[in-house]
Amino acid sequence: MSESSAKPVSFRGGGFAPRSVRWIGVTVFVALILIAEWGTRSGWISALTLPKPSDVLDTFRELYESGLLFKHLGPSLSRLIVGAAIGASVGISVGVLIGLFSYIRSGLVPLVAAIFPIPKIALLPLFVIWFGIGEGSKYALIAFGTFTPTVVATYGAVDNVDRTLIRMGQSFGLSWWSIVRKIVLPGAMPGILSGLRISLAIAIILLVAAEMLGAQYGIGAYILEAGSLYDLERLFAGVLILSLLGVIVSAVIGLIERRLLRWRI
Protein backbone atom coordinates (compact mmCIF):
# COMPACT_ATOMS: atom_id res chain seq x y z
CA MET A 1 0.00 0.00 0.00
CA SER A 2 1.39 3.36 -0.91
CA GLU A 3 2.39 5.91 1.67
CA SER A 4 -0.04 8.45 0.24
CA SER A 5 -3.09 6.32 1.03
CA ALA A 6 -2.10 6.06 4.73
CA LYS A 7 -4.07 8.21 7.13
CA PRO A 8 -4.41 8.17 10.88
CA VAL A 9 -7.28 6.15 12.28
CA SER A 10 -9.84 8.62 13.54
CA PHE A 11 -10.41 8.53 17.29
CA ARG A 12 -13.92 7.53 18.29
CA GLY A 13 -13.56 6.42 21.87
CA GLY A 14 -13.78 8.66 24.91
CA GLY A 15 -16.69 10.41 26.60
CA PHE A 16 -19.34 8.67 28.69
CA ALA A 17 -17.04 8.84 31.68
CA PRO A 18 -18.02 11.83 33.78
CA ARG A 19 -15.53 12.71 36.49
CA SER A 20 -16.21 15.14 39.27
CA VAL A 21 -14.23 18.31 38.85
CA ARG A 22 -13.69 19.80 42.25
CA TRP A 23 -14.07 23.55 41.86
CA ILE A 24 -17.05 23.43 39.47
CA GLY A 25 -19.48 22.65 42.29
CA VAL A 26 -18.28 25.55 44.39
CA THR A 27 -18.39 27.85 41.38
CA VAL A 28 -22.02 26.96 40.67
CA PHE A 29 -22.92 27.71 44.30
CA VAL A 30 -21.08 31.00 44.33
CA ALA A 31 -22.49 32.05 40.97
CA LEU A 32 -26.08 31.36 42.04
CA ILE A 33 -25.60 33.26 45.27
CA LEU A 34 -24.02 36.20 43.45
CA ILE A 35 -26.88 36.31 40.96
CA ALA A 36 -29.39 36.26 43.82
CA GLU A 37 -27.50 39.00 45.65
CA TRP A 38 -27.28 41.18 42.59
CA GLY A 39 -30.89 40.54 41.63
CA THR A 40 -32.26 41.39 45.06
CA ARG A 41 -30.05 44.46 45.34
CA SER A 42 -30.95 45.85 41.95
CA GLY A 43 -34.59 45.03 42.53
CA TRP A 44 -35.50 42.72 39.69
CA ILE A 45 -35.94 39.98 42.25
CA SER A 46 -38.52 41.34 44.67
CA ALA A 47 -38.12 41.05 48.43
CA LEU A 48 -41.14 38.77 48.33
CA THR A 49 -39.49 36.28 46.01
CA LEU A 50 -36.10 35.78 47.57
CA PRO A 51 -34.21 37.24 50.49
CA LYS A 52 -30.90 38.95 49.98
CA PRO A 53 -28.17 36.33 50.55
CA SER A 54 -26.17 38.86 52.55
CA ASP A 55 -29.20 39.44 54.80
CA VAL A 56 -29.53 35.70 55.28
CA LEU A 57 -25.90 35.61 56.31
CA ASP A 58 -26.51 38.51 58.71
CA THR A 59 -29.49 36.71 60.20
CA PHE A 60 -27.33 33.65 60.62
CA ARG A 61 -24.64 35.68 62.31
CA GLU A 62 -27.15 37.29 64.66
CA LEU A 63 -28.50 33.87 65.45
CA TYR A 64 -25.01 32.74 66.30
CA GLU A 65 -24.05 35.81 68.28
CA SER A 66 -27.23 35.83 70.32
CA GLY A 67 -26.55 32.25 71.34
CA LEU A 68 -29.95 31.28 69.95
CA LEU A 69 -28.30 29.11 67.33
CA PHE A 70 -27.23 26.61 69.95
CA LYS A 71 -30.49 26.92 71.79
CA HIS A 72 -32.16 25.73 68.60
CA LEU A 73 -29.42 23.37 67.46
CA GLY A 74 -29.15 21.55 70.80
CA PRO A 75 -32.67 20.11 70.98
CA SER A 76 -32.68 19.39 67.23
CA LEU A 77 -29.41 17.50 67.36
CA SER A 78 -30.53 15.46 70.34
CA ARG A 79 -33.81 14.63 68.57
CA LEU A 80 -31.91 13.74 65.45
CA ILE A 81 -29.34 11.64 67.25
CA VAL A 82 -31.73 9.80 69.55
CA GLY A 83 -34.39 9.31 66.88
CA ALA A 84 -31.99 8.23 64.16
CA ALA A 85 -30.04 6.02 66.55
CA ILE A 86 -33.19 4.19 67.60
CA GLY A 87 -34.50 3.95 64.04
CA ALA A 88 -31.21 2.87 62.54
CA SER A 89 -30.29 0.32 65.20
CA VAL A 90 -33.74 -1.28 65.27
CA GLY A 91 -33.76 -1.10 61.46
CA ILE A 92 -30.40 -2.81 61.16
CA SER A 93 -31.39 -5.52 63.65
CA VAL A 94 -34.71 -6.21 61.95
CA GLY A 95 -33.02 -6.07 58.54
CA VAL A 96 -30.46 -8.66 59.61
CA LEU A 97 -33.18 -10.89 61.05
CA ILE A 98 -35.12 -10.62 57.79
CA GLY A 99 -31.93 -11.46 55.96
CA LEU A 100 -31.36 -14.57 58.05
CA PHE A 101 -34.69 -16.17 58.95
CA SER A 102 -37.34 -17.38 56.54
CA TYR A 103 -40.29 -16.89 58.88
CA ILE A 104 -39.28 -13.40 59.88
CA ARG A 105 -38.67 -12.57 56.25
CA SER A 106 -42.06 -13.85 55.14
CA GLY A 107 -43.76 -12.06 58.00
CA LEU A 108 -42.03 -8.72 57.91
CA VAL A 109 -41.13 -7.95 54.31
CA PRO A 110 -44.73 -7.28 53.28
CA LEU A 111 -45.23 -5.28 56.46
CA VAL A 112 -42.19 -3.13 55.78
CA ALA A 113 -43.31 -2.67 52.18
CA ALA A 114 -46.69 -1.56 53.51
CA ILE A 115 -45.33 1.02 55.94
CA PHE A 116 -42.53 2.33 53.74
CA PRO A 117 -44.71 4.57 51.56
CA ILE A 118 -46.76 5.99 54.45
CA PRO A 119 -45.89 9.66 54.80
CA LYS A 120 -44.70 9.58 58.39
CA ILE A 121 -45.83 13.19 58.85
CA ALA A 122 -49.40 12.00 58.46
CA LEU A 123 -48.95 9.85 61.55
CA LEU A 124 -47.73 12.73 63.70
CA PRO A 125 -51.07 13.25 65.50
CA LEU A 126 -51.14 9.54 66.27
CA PHE A 127 -47.62 9.69 67.66
CA VAL A 128 -48.64 12.59 69.86
CA ILE A 129 -51.39 10.45 71.34
CA TRP A 130 -49.07 7.47 71.78
CA PHE A 131 -45.93 9.20 72.95
CA GLY A 132 -47.15 12.56 74.21
CA ILE A 133 -46.38 16.03 73.01
CA GLY A 134 -42.87 16.10 74.45
CA GLU A 135 -39.70 14.56 73.12
CA GLY A 136 -41.23 11.07 72.84
CA SER A 137 -43.31 11.77 69.76
CA LYS A 138 -40.40 13.56 68.10
CA TYR A 139 -38.02 10.67 68.69
CA ALA A 140 -40.69 8.28 67.50
CA LEU A 141 -41.35 10.15 64.26
CA ILE A 142 -37.67 10.38 63.35
CA ALA A 143 -37.03 6.81 64.46
CA PHE A 144 -39.95 5.53 62.43
CA GLY A 145 -38.88 7.52 59.40
CA THR A 146 -35.34 6.16 59.48
CA PHE A 147 -36.41 2.63 60.37
CA THR A 148 -38.00 1.55 57.09
CA PRO A 149 -35.28 2.61 54.65
CA THR A 150 -32.68 1.11 56.99
CA VAL A 151 -34.51 -2.22 57.10
CA VAL A 152 -34.82 -2.40 53.35
CA ALA A 153 -31.19 -1.45 52.79
CA THR A 154 -30.00 -3.88 55.45
CA TYR A 155 -31.77 -6.99 54.32
CA GLY A 156 -30.80 -6.23 50.76
CA ALA A 157 -27.21 -5.95 51.94
CA VAL A 158 -27.43 -9.22 53.90
CA ASP A 159 -28.89 -10.94 50.84
CA ASN A 160 -25.90 -9.75 48.87
CA VAL A 161 -23.29 -11.13 51.25
CA ASP A 162 -21.19 -13.63 49.34
CA ARG A 163 -22.68 -17.06 50.17
CA THR A 164 -19.36 -18.82 49.63
CA LEU A 165 -17.98 -16.83 52.58
CA ILE A 166 -20.80 -18.11 54.74
CA ARG A 167 -20.22 -21.69 53.50
CA MET A 168 -16.55 -21.19 54.30
CA GLY A 169 -17.47 -20.16 57.85
CA GLN A 170 -19.63 -23.23 58.22
CA SER A 171 -16.97 -25.50 56.77
CA PHE A 172 -14.58 -24.32 59.46
CA GLY A 173 -17.17 -25.06 62.10
CA LEU A 174 -17.77 -21.42 63.10
CA SER A 175 -20.73 -20.92 65.40
CA TRP A 176 -23.87 -19.28 64.06
CA TRP A 177 -23.24 -16.16 66.07
CA SER A 178 -19.64 -15.95 64.86
CA ILE A 179 -20.78 -16.24 61.28
CA VAL A 180 -23.31 -13.42 61.75
CA ARG A 181 -20.86 -11.21 63.60
CA LYS A 182 -17.71 -11.86 61.62
CA ILE A 183 -19.02 -12.58 58.13
CA VAL A 184 -22.61 -11.43 57.60
CA LEU A 185 -22.44 -8.05 59.33
CA PRO A 186 -19.11 -6.88 57.89
CA GLY A 187 -20.15 -8.19 54.48
CA ALA A 188 -23.41 -6.26 54.65
CA MET A 189 -21.71 -3.11 55.93
CA PRO A 190 -21.31 -1.35 52.56
CA GLY A 191 -25.01 -1.74 51.83
CA ILE A 192 -25.99 -0.75 55.35
CA LEU A 193 -23.89 2.40 55.21
CA SER A 194 -25.23 3.52 51.87
CA GLY A 195 -28.70 2.87 53.26
CA LEU A 196 -27.83 5.02 56.25
CA ARG A 197 -26.96 7.89 53.95
CA ILE A 198 -30.55 7.90 52.76
CA SER A 199 -32.08 7.20 56.18
CA LEU A 200 -30.22 10.03 57.84
CA ALA A 201 -31.20 12.48 55.11
CA ILE A 202 -34.78 11.41 55.74
CA ALA A 203 -34.23 11.97 59.46
CA ILE A 204 -33.20 15.56 58.76
CA ILE A 205 -36.26 16.04 56.56
CA LEU A 206 -38.47 14.69 59.32
CA LEU A 207 -36.90 16.96 61.89
CA VAL A 208 -39.02 19.84 60.62
CA ALA A 209 -42.14 17.70 60.77
CA ALA A 210 -41.28 16.43 64.23
CA GLU A 211 -40.93 19.95 65.52
CA MET A 212 -44.31 20.98 64.19
CA LEU A 213 -45.97 19.86 67.38
CA GLY A 214 -45.03 21.33 70.69
CA ALA A 215 -41.44 22.35 70.05
CA GLN A 216 -40.42 25.74 71.38
CA TYR A 217 -36.85 25.38 70.27
CA GLY A 218 -35.27 23.50 67.41
CA ILE A 219 -34.19 24.18 63.85
CA GLY A 220 -37.46 22.78 62.54
CA ALA A 221 -39.49 24.95 64.91
CA TYR A 222 -37.37 27.93 63.88
CA ILE A 223 -38.06 27.28 60.20
CA LEU A 224 -41.78 26.80 60.79
CA GLU A 225 -41.93 29.99 62.80
CA ALA A 226 -40.05 31.87 60.09
CA GLY A 227 -42.49 30.45 57.53
CA SER A 228 -45.53 31.53 59.47
CA LEU A 229 -44.03 34.97 59.96
CA TYR A 230 -43.12 35.06 56.28
CA ASP A 231 -39.65 35.97 57.39
CA LEU A 232 -37.62 34.79 54.42
CA GLU A 233 -34.24 35.65 55.92
CA ARG A 234 -34.84 33.41 58.91
CA LEU A 235 -36.44 30.77 56.72
CA PHE A 236 -33.35 30.61 54.55
CA ALA A 237 -31.02 30.77 57.52
CA GLY A 238 -32.85 27.75 58.95
CA VAL A 239 -32.75 25.93 55.66
CA LEU A 240 -29.05 26.70 55.45
CA ILE A 241 -28.54 25.01 58.80
CA LEU A 242 -30.41 21.91 57.62
CA SER A 243 -28.32 21.81 54.45
CA LEU A 244 -25.14 22.11 56.47
CA LEU A 245 -26.39 19.36 58.74
CA GLY A 246 -26.97 17.20 55.67
CA VAL A 247 -23.49 17.90 54.35
CA ILE A 248 -21.95 17.10 57.73
CA VAL A 249 -23.88 13.85 58.10
CA SER A 250 -22.89 12.83 54.60
CA ALA A 251 -19.26 13.67 55.32
CA VAL A 252 -19.32 11.70 58.57
CA ILE A 253 -20.71 8.66 56.80
CA GLY A 254 -18.07 9.13 54.14
CA LEU A 255 -15.47 9.11 56.88
CA ILE A 256 -16.92 5.99 58.46
CA GLU A 257 -17.03 4.35 55.05
CA ARG A 258 -13.42 5.14 54.43
CA ARG A 259 -12.41 3.73 57.81
CA LEU A 260 -14.67 0.70 57.82
CA LEU A 261 -14.60 -0.16 54.15
CA ARG A 262 -10.93 0.28 53.50
CA TRP A 263 -10.90 -3.33 52.38
CA ARG A 264 -13.01 -2.61 49.33
CA ILE A 265 -11.31 -2.63 45.98
Binding site: V128, I133, Q216, L224, L229
Partner: protein, 337 residues
Amino acid sequence: MITFNRRKALALMGGTVAASGLAAPALAANKKIKVGALRFTSHSGSFIALERGYFADAGLDVEFEFFQAAQPMAVAIASGDVDYAVTAISGGLISLADKGAIKVIGGALQEEGGIDGQKYLISDAAYQAGIKTLKDLDGRKYAVTQAGSSFHYMGSKMAEAEGITLQFTPLQKVGAIIGAMKSGQVDGWSIVPHIAKPLAAAGAWHMVANVSDYIPNYQVTTVFTSAKNAAEERGQTEAFLNGFKRGVDDYAAAMIDGTADQDAMVELIHKYVYTDRPLEKAAPSIINGTMRLSTGAALNVASVQDQLSWFQSEGLVDSDITLDTLVDSSYVETTGA
Protein backbone atom coordinates in the same frame (compact mmCIF):
# COMPACT_ATOMS: atom_id res chain seq x y z
CA MET B 1 -68.86 47.77 26.35
CA ILE B 2 -70.91 49.67 28.88
CA THR B 3 -74.29 48.30 29.80
CA PHE B 4 -76.33 49.69 32.64
CA ASN B 5 -78.76 47.44 34.36
CA ARG B 6 -81.10 48.32 37.17
CA ARG B 7 -78.78 47.19 39.94
CA LYS B 8 -75.83 49.10 38.71
CA ALA B 9 -77.88 52.18 38.21
CA LEU B 10 -79.12 51.80 41.75
CA ALA B 11 -75.65 51.32 43.02
CA LEU B 12 -74.53 54.43 41.27
CA MET B 13 -77.33 56.42 42.78
CA GLY B 14 -76.89 54.92 46.22
CA GLY B 15 -75.54 57.38 48.75
CA THR B 16 -73.28 54.80 50.33
CA VAL B 17 -71.13 54.59 47.26
CA ALA B 18 -68.43 57.12 47.85
CA ALA B 19 -66.48 58.48 44.95
CA SER B 20 -68.88 56.79 42.59
CA GLY B 21 -67.55 58.72 39.65
CA LEU B 22 -64.17 57.21 40.17
CA ALA B 23 -65.56 53.77 40.66
CA ALA B 24 -67.78 53.86 37.62
CA PRO B 25 -65.41 52.41 35.01
CA ALA B 26 -64.65 49.41 37.20
CA LEU B 27 -68.30 48.92 37.98
CA ALA B 28 -69.32 49.07 34.40
CA ALA B 29 -66.96 46.26 33.53
CA ASN B 30 -68.64 43.99 36.13
CA LYS B 31 -65.22 43.19 37.34
CA LYS B 32 -64.22 39.68 38.34
CA ILE B 33 -62.42 39.49 41.66
CA LYS B 34 -61.42 36.73 44.03
CA VAL B 35 -62.16 36.86 47.72
CA GLY B 36 -60.37 34.56 50.12
CA ALA B 37 -62.35 33.04 52.94
CA LEU B 38 -62.23 30.47 55.69
CA ARG B 39 -65.37 28.56 56.48
CA PHE B 40 -65.92 30.39 59.78
CA THR B 41 -68.89 32.49 60.88
CA SER B 42 -66.51 35.40 61.27
CA HIS B 43 -66.33 35.54 57.47
CA SER B 44 -70.10 35.96 57.18
CA GLY B 45 -69.83 39.56 55.97
CA SER B 46 -68.49 38.39 52.63
CA PHE B 47 -70.87 35.42 52.40
CA ILE B 48 -73.90 37.65 52.93
CA ALA B 49 -72.64 40.30 50.52
CA LEU B 50 -72.36 37.70 47.79
CA GLU B 51 -75.61 35.88 48.54
CA ARG B 52 -77.66 39.06 48.76
CA GLY B 53 -76.11 40.58 45.66
CA TYR B 54 -74.33 43.44 47.46
CA PHE B 55 -71.10 42.71 45.63
CA ALA B 56 -72.97 42.56 42.33
CA ASP B 57 -74.63 45.86 43.21
CA ALA B 58 -71.17 47.29 43.69
CA GLY B 59 -70.24 46.07 40.23
CA LEU B 60 -68.14 43.14 41.30
CA ASP B 61 -68.33 39.58 40.13
CA VAL B 62 -67.00 37.86 43.24
CA GLU B 63 -65.69 34.37 43.38
CA PHE B 64 -64.70 32.79 46.70
CA GLU B 65 -61.44 30.99 47.16
CA PHE B 66 -61.60 28.85 50.30
CA PHE B 67 -58.58 28.19 52.48
CA GLN B 68 -57.85 25.86 55.37
CA ALA B 69 -55.79 28.39 57.27
CA ALA B 70 -55.16 32.11 57.39
CA GLN B 71 -51.47 31.87 56.59
CA PRO B 72 -51.72 30.59 52.98
CA MET B 73 -54.53 33.06 52.39
CA ALA B 74 -52.23 35.96 53.27
CA VAL B 75 -49.60 34.56 50.93
CA ALA B 76 -52.22 34.21 48.18
CA ILE B 77 -53.09 37.89 48.55
CA ALA B 78 -49.42 38.80 48.41
CA SER B 79 -48.95 36.78 45.26
CA GLY B 80 -52.02 38.36 43.66
CA ASP B 81 -53.99 35.13 43.38
CA VAL B 82 -56.65 36.48 45.69
CA ASP B 83 -57.77 40.11 45.88
CA TYR B 84 -59.41 40.56 49.27
CA ALA B 85 -59.69 38.58 52.46
CA VAL B 86 -60.38 38.76 56.14
CA THR B 87 -57.95 37.38 58.69
CA ALA B 88 -56.41 37.86 62.09
CA ILE B 89 -53.36 40.05 62.39
CA SER B 90 -50.38 37.77 62.60
CA GLY B 91 -46.65 38.10 62.38
CA GLY B 92 -46.82 36.73 58.84
CA LEU B 93 -49.31 39.41 57.83
CA ILE B 94 -47.11 42.16 59.24
CA SER B 95 -44.02 40.78 57.52
CA LEU B 96 -45.83 40.68 54.21
CA ALA B 97 -46.93 44.28 54.74
CA ASP B 98 -43.33 45.17 55.54
CA LYS B 99 -42.28 43.65 52.23
CA GLY B 100 -44.74 45.96 50.50
CA ALA B 101 -47.05 43.13 49.54
CA ILE B 102 -50.24 43.76 51.49
CA LYS B 103 -52.24 46.41 53.36
CA VAL B 104 -54.89 46.25 56.02
CA ILE B 105 -57.80 48.37 54.81
CA GLY B 106 -60.57 47.76 57.32
CA GLY B 107 -61.71 46.01 60.45
CA ALA B 108 -63.82 42.91 60.84
CA LEU B 109 -64.18 40.79 63.97
CA GLN B 110 -64.01 42.76 67.19
CA GLU B 111 -64.22 41.94 70.86
CA GLU B 112 -66.98 43.99 72.40
CA GLY B 113 -68.32 44.03 75.93
CA GLY B 114 -71.78 42.54 76.17
CA ILE B 115 -71.32 40.20 73.24
CA ASP B 116 -69.88 36.83 73.94
CA GLY B 117 -66.26 36.81 72.81
CA GLN B 118 -63.23 34.55 72.92
CA LYS B 119 -62.53 32.58 76.10
CA TYR B 120 -59.44 31.65 78.02
CA LEU B 121 -59.45 27.95 78.81
CA ILE B 122 -57.78 25.60 81.25
CA SER B 123 -57.68 21.94 80.34
CA ASP B 124 -59.63 19.62 82.59
CA ALA B 125 -56.50 17.67 83.52
CA ALA B 126 -54.75 20.81 84.69
CA TYR B 127 -57.91 22.00 86.42
CA GLN B 128 -58.16 18.76 88.36
CA ALA B 129 -54.51 19.19 89.28
CA GLY B 130 -55.38 22.42 91.02
CA ILE B 131 -54.94 25.00 88.29
CA LYS B 132 -58.16 26.94 88.74
CA THR B 133 -57.23 30.42 87.56
CA LEU B 134 -55.15 31.88 84.77
CA LYS B 135 -52.58 33.01 87.31
CA ASP B 136 -52.01 29.38 88.24
CA LEU B 137 -50.91 28.69 84.66
CA ASP B 138 -47.50 30.14 85.52
CA GLY B 139 -44.79 28.05 83.87
CA ARG B 140 -47.31 25.71 82.22
CA LYS B 141 -47.88 24.80 78.60
CA TYR B 142 -50.07 27.22 76.70
CA ALA B 143 -51.22 26.13 73.25
CA VAL B 144 -50.78 28.29 70.16
CA THR B 145 -51.02 27.36 66.49
CA GLN B 146 -47.72 28.97 65.65
CA ALA B 147 -45.39 31.53 67.10
CA GLY B 148 -46.71 34.94 66.08
CA SER B 149 -50.32 33.81 65.73
CA SER B 150 -53.24 35.62 67.34
CA PHE B 151 -53.34 32.85 69.98
CA HIS B 152 -49.78 33.72 70.89
CA TYR B 153 -50.78 37.38 71.23
CA MET B 154 -53.79 36.63 73.42
CA GLY B 155 -51.78 34.31 75.66
CA SER B 156 -48.94 36.75 75.96
CA LYS B 157 -51.20 39.72 76.82
CA MET B 158 -52.89 37.66 79.49
CA ALA B 159 -49.56 36.47 80.90
CA GLU B 160 -48.33 40.03 81.02
CA ALA B 161 -51.42 41.18 82.88
CA GLU B 162 -51.20 38.27 85.33
CA GLY B 163 -47.45 38.63 85.74
CA ILE B 164 -46.80 35.00 84.81
CA THR B 165 -44.71 33.24 82.19
CA LEU B 166 -46.12 30.63 79.86
CA GLN B 167 -44.52 27.92 77.78
CA PHE B 168 -46.02 28.64 74.40
CA THR B 169 -46.43 25.32 72.63
CA PRO B 170 -46.93 25.45 68.85
CA LEU B 171 -49.33 22.80 67.58
CA GLN B 172 -50.02 24.18 64.08
CA LYS B 173 -53.72 23.41 63.89
CA VAL B 174 -56.78 24.13 65.97
CA GLY B 175 -57.73 20.45 65.68
CA ALA B 176 -54.39 19.39 67.14
CA ILE B 177 -54.78 21.87 69.99
CA ILE B 178 -58.25 20.58 70.83
CA GLY B 179 -56.83 17.04 70.95
CA ALA B 180 -53.92 18.13 73.13
CA MET B 181 -56.22 20.04 75.49
CA LYS B 182 -58.57 17.08 75.78
CA SER B 183 -55.71 14.70 76.59
CA GLY B 184 -54.19 17.16 79.02
CA GLN B 185 -50.91 17.53 77.13
CA VAL B 186 -51.25 21.31 77.18
CA ASP B 187 -52.78 23.31 79.99
CA GLY B 188 -54.18 26.56 78.64
CA TRP B 189 -55.56 28.09 75.47
CA SER B 190 -58.01 30.66 74.13
CA ILE B 191 -60.64 30.19 71.45
CA VAL B 192 -63.90 31.52 70.03
CA PRO B 193 -66.99 30.84 72.09
CA HIS B 194 -68.76 28.42 69.79
CA ILE B 195 -65.80 26.04 70.07
CA ALA B 196 -65.16 26.83 73.74
CA LYS B 197 -68.70 26.32 75.06
CA PRO B 198 -69.73 22.87 73.82
CA LEU B 199 -66.46 21.27 74.91
CA ALA B 200 -66.58 23.07 78.24
CA ALA B 201 -70.04 21.58 78.71
CA ALA B 202 -68.61 18.18 77.78
CA GLY B 203 -65.98 18.57 80.49
CA ALA B 204 -62.93 18.78 78.25
CA TRP B 205 -61.86 22.11 79.64
CA HIS B 206 -62.97 25.02 81.79
CA MET B 207 -63.68 28.57 80.62
CA VAL B 208 -62.05 30.79 83.19
CA ALA B 209 -62.04 34.27 81.65
CA ASN B 210 -62.97 36.36 78.63
CA VAL B 211 -60.32 37.61 76.28
CA SER B 212 -62.05 40.98 76.32
CA ASP B 213 -61.24 41.27 80.05
CA TYR B 214 -57.57 41.33 79.18
CA ILE B 215 -57.61 42.94 75.74
CA PRO B 216 -60.40 45.50 75.55
CA ASN B 217 -61.63 46.44 72.08
CA TYR B 218 -59.45 43.76 70.56
CA GLN B 219 -59.54 44.06 66.78
CA VAL B 220 -59.34 40.33 66.10
CA THR B 221 -59.58 40.24 62.35
CA THR B 222 -59.09 42.81 59.64
CA VAL B 223 -59.91 43.21 55.98
CA PHE B 224 -56.81 43.25 53.86
CA THR B 225 -55.73 43.31 50.24
CA SER B 226 -52.59 43.57 48.19
CA ALA B 227 -50.69 46.82 48.42
CA LYS B 228 -51.22 47.16 44.71
CA ASN B 229 -55.00 46.95 45.00
CA ALA B 230 -54.98 49.42 47.86
CA ALA B 231 -52.91 51.94 45.95
CA GLU B 232 -53.97 51.51 42.34
CA GLU B 233 -57.42 49.92 42.34
CA ARG B 234 -59.18 52.40 44.55
CA GLY B 235 -62.52 52.08 42.80
CA GLN B 236 -62.56 48.34 43.00
CA THR B 237 -61.41 48.31 46.62
CA GLU B 238 -64.10 50.77 47.66
CA ALA B 239 -66.66 48.74 45.79
CA PHE B 240 -65.58 45.62 47.66
CA LEU B 241 -65.74 47.39 51.02
CA ASN B 242 -69.16 48.76 50.22
CA GLY B 243 -70.52 45.33 49.48
CA PHE B 244 -68.80 43.93 52.54
CA LYS B 245 -70.17 46.65 54.85
CA ARG B 246 -73.72 45.92 53.77
CA GLY B 247 -73.14 42.25 54.51
CA VAL B 248 -71.81 43.15 57.96
CA ASP B 249 -74.82 45.36 58.63
CA ASP B 250 -77.23 42.59 57.70
CA TYR B 251 -75.29 40.20 59.94
CA ALA B 252 -75.48 42.51 62.92
CA ALA B 253 -79.17 43.23 62.34
CA ALA B 254 -80.08 39.55 62.24
CA MET B 255 -77.64 38.05 64.77
CA ILE B 256 -77.00 40.79 67.34
CA ASP B 257 -79.60 43.52 67.18
CA GLY B 258 -82.57 41.24 66.46
CA THR B 259 -83.98 43.64 63.90
CA ALA B 260 -83.98 41.08 61.08
CA ASP B 261 -84.89 37.44 60.61
CA GLN B 262 -82.24 35.33 62.38
CA ASP B 263 -83.37 32.00 60.93
CA ALA B 264 -83.03 33.23 57.39
CA MET B 265 -79.56 34.52 58.20
CA VAL B 266 -78.48 31.26 59.81
CA GLU B 267 -79.71 29.42 56.76
CA LEU B 268 -77.68 31.71 54.52
CA ILE B 269 -74.51 31.30 56.58
CA HIS B 270 -75.02 27.54 56.68
CA LYS B 271 -74.44 27.48 52.94
CA TYR B 272 -70.78 28.17 53.75
CA VAL B 273 -70.16 27.14 57.32
CA TYR B 274 -70.66 23.68 58.87
CA THR B 275 -71.90 22.47 55.51
CA ASP B 276 -71.22 18.89 56.56
CA ARG B 277 -73.94 19.06 59.22
CA PRO B 278 -77.70 19.46 58.77
CA LEU B 279 -79.09 22.90 59.44
CA GLU B 280 -80.65 21.96 62.82
CA LYS B 281 -77.29 20.85 64.12
CA ALA B 282 -75.32 23.69 62.57
CA ALA B 283 -77.66 26.45 63.77
CA PRO B 284 -76.65 26.43 67.46
CA SER B 285 -72.96 26.61 66.53
CA ILE B 286 -73.59 29.43 64.12
CA ILE B 287 -75.62 31.31 66.72
CA ASN B 288 -73.08 30.61 69.47
CA GLY B 289 -70.34 31.88 67.22
CA THR B 290 -71.92 35.27 66.85
CA MET B 291 -69.44 38.09 67.39
CA ARG B 292 -69.33 41.74 66.50
CA LEU B 293 -68.14 42.51 62.99
CA SER B 294 -67.31 46.17 63.13
CA THR B 295 -69.87 48.43 61.57
CA GLY B 296 -68.72 50.17 58.43
CA ALA B 297 -65.62 47.94 58.59
CA ALA B 298 -64.26 50.50 61.04
CA LEU B 299 -60.76 49.73 62.16
CA ASN B 300 -59.56 50.07 65.72
CA VAL B 301 -56.06 51.36 65.02
CA ALA B 302 -55.20 51.49 68.69
CA SER B 303 -55.69 47.76 68.92
CA VAL B 304 -53.78 47.19 65.69
CA GLN B 305 -50.94 49.35 67.04
CA ASP B 306 -50.93 47.38 70.27
CA GLN B 307 -50.67 44.12 68.35
CA LEU B 308 -47.93 45.49 66.13
CA SER B 309 -45.99 46.68 69.16
CA TRP B 310 -46.36 43.29 70.82
CA PHE B 311 -45.05 41.46 67.76
CA GLN B 312 -42.12 43.85 67.71
CA SER B 313 -41.39 43.49 71.41
CA GLU B 314 -41.32 39.72 70.98
CA GLY B 315 -38.82 40.13 68.15
CA LEU B 316 -41.20 38.36 65.80
CA VAL B 317 -41.21 41.19 63.28
CA ASP B 318 -38.86 44.00 62.39
CA SER B 319 -38.86 46.76 64.97
CA ASP B 320 -38.90 49.64 62.47
CA ILE B 321 -42.27 48.74 60.97
CA THR B 322 -44.78 51.55 61.48
CA LEU B 323 -48.53 51.42 61.55
CA ASP B 324 -48.61 53.16 58.17
CA THR B 325 -46.69 50.30 56.61
CA LEU B 326 -49.35 47.90 57.79
CA VAL B 327 -52.52 49.94 57.47
CA ASP B 328 -54.00 52.04 54.69
CA SER B 329 -56.42 54.09 56.75
CA SER B 330 -57.90 56.01 53.83
CA TYR B 331 -60.73 53.57 53.20
CA VAL B 332 -62.67 53.27 56.43
CA GLU B 333 -63.38 55.12 59.62
CA THR B 334 -60.71 54.50 62.23
CA THR B 335 -61.27 54.37 65.96
CA GLY B 336 -59.08 54.43 68.99
CA ALA B 337 -56.47 56.63 67.38
